[in-house]
């Protein structure tokens, strides 16, 4: 019942679904050792939408991204570039 998880696709879906300008979304995946960081570039108007009040949205994105990668043992981070 389980196929392989695709954390990058998950992050991309969440971010593009939350913004006004999905075409301006760029996600760079940086791997170092067993850490993976997804760096999100956005239209300036959309930064607040992806971060959310008190960071609630970006925190939730991080939680899901980490859970999806949970079984692989890698450390996952998701950051919004200013």
């Amino acid at each position: 019942m389980t196929q392989s998880a695709d954390t990058e696709a998950l992050v991309r879906f969440l971010v593009t679904s939350l913004v006004e300008n999905p075409d301006s979304v760029d996600i760079a995946k940086r791997v170092s050792g067993d850490s993976v960081a997804y760096e999100i570039s956005l239209h300036p108007d959309d930064v607040g939408k992806v971060i959310g009040r008190q960071g609630r949205i970006i925190k939730a994105i991080r939680t899901l991204a980490r859970a999806s990668a949970g079984t692989t043992g890698e450390h996952v981070d998701v950051e919004v570039l200013g």
Partner: protein
């Protein structure tokens, strides 16, 4: 926006990440101090002690942050059913700029459309997790749409203390609101977890009420999410012996049950 916060994690780095997420800034915008080092409990019993950090914004970033705050005032905001229902926010200006729509204002077709949007976003998340599951639709007591994800070993979607499920709730609500252009209560569940959890929380609330009466003093519960706190508030609403309130800052906000005076 908050200018200071404390956060926990299994490592200092993770606690810092959480704090930065909460403040919505990058690390170069803050200064921090380690309040608690991670480590094992005495005698190796119990769970590991978590790292705790206090993080605050650098002066020079405060101005920049207030600009961002203005921007956010007009941005999409997550709406969990819980927060709307906790009734702390003034309804005069809807949060996130999306008007809230009451169940009775909508036709069956509208409700189908809302459910379809929410189901499709949940489905995309499940795809990202590589999980095949079924999404069952229910209507809740107050007209809310309940979407229960079922079909096997789904503990991964619930997470510790339901944290992953809470994140899923926040994002599905935000995405659904954004696609619809209005806010409607949609509750995401996994294998009926919220229901089971609710029964347990109601018991916790009852026990706290009994203790508050017996001790004739306030009883503070462990920190809970907004949804969990709401369950406790509602469970004790009819209990004439006690009053309930929420105290503290997220994510350590908790319910306090006190004996009713007079």
């Amino acid at each position: 926006m908050k200018r200071e916060t404390t956060a926990e994690g299994t490592t200092v780095e993770e606690a810092l990440d959480t704090a930065l997420a909460e403040l919505g800034v990058q690390q170069d915008a803050v200064q921090y101090e380690v309040v608690g080092e991670p480590g094992k409990r005495l005698f190796g019993l119990g769970s590991e002690r978590r790292a705790q950090v206090r993080v605050w914004l650098r002066e020079e970033f405060v101005a920049e942050i207030s600009a961002r705050e203005q921007e956010e005032a007009f941005s999409t905001e997550d709406s969990t059913v819980a927060e709307a229902a906790e009734g702390v926010q003034s309804p005069a200006v809807p949060r996130g700029g999306f008007p809230t729509v009451a169940p009775e204002e909508l036709s069956d077709e509208d409700l189908d459309r809302i459910a379809d949007e929410a189901v499709s976003s949940i489905q995309s998340v499940l795809d990202g997790f590589g999980i095949e599951a079924t999404i069952e639709e229910y209507e809740g007591d107050e007209g809310e749409i309940i979407l229960d994800i079922v079909g096997g070993d789904l503990g991964l979607l619930i997470g510790r203390h339901g944290r992953t499920l809470d994140a899923l709730q926040v994002l599905v609500a935000a995405i659904t609101n954004r696609r619809l252009g209005f806010r409607y209560p949609v509750l995401v569940d996994v294998e009926g977890y919220r229901n089971r959890r609710r029964v347990k929380l109601e018991e916790i609330g009852q026990r706290a009420a009994d203790r508050a009466v017996r001790q004739n003093g306030p009883v503070k519960l462990r920190p809970m999410s907004a949804l969990e706190r709401r369950v406790v508030h509602v469970a004790l609403r009819e209990d004439q012996r006690v009053v309930t309130a929420s105290e503290g800052e997220e994510p350590f906000r908790s319910v306090v049950v006190s004996p009713r005076r007079g």
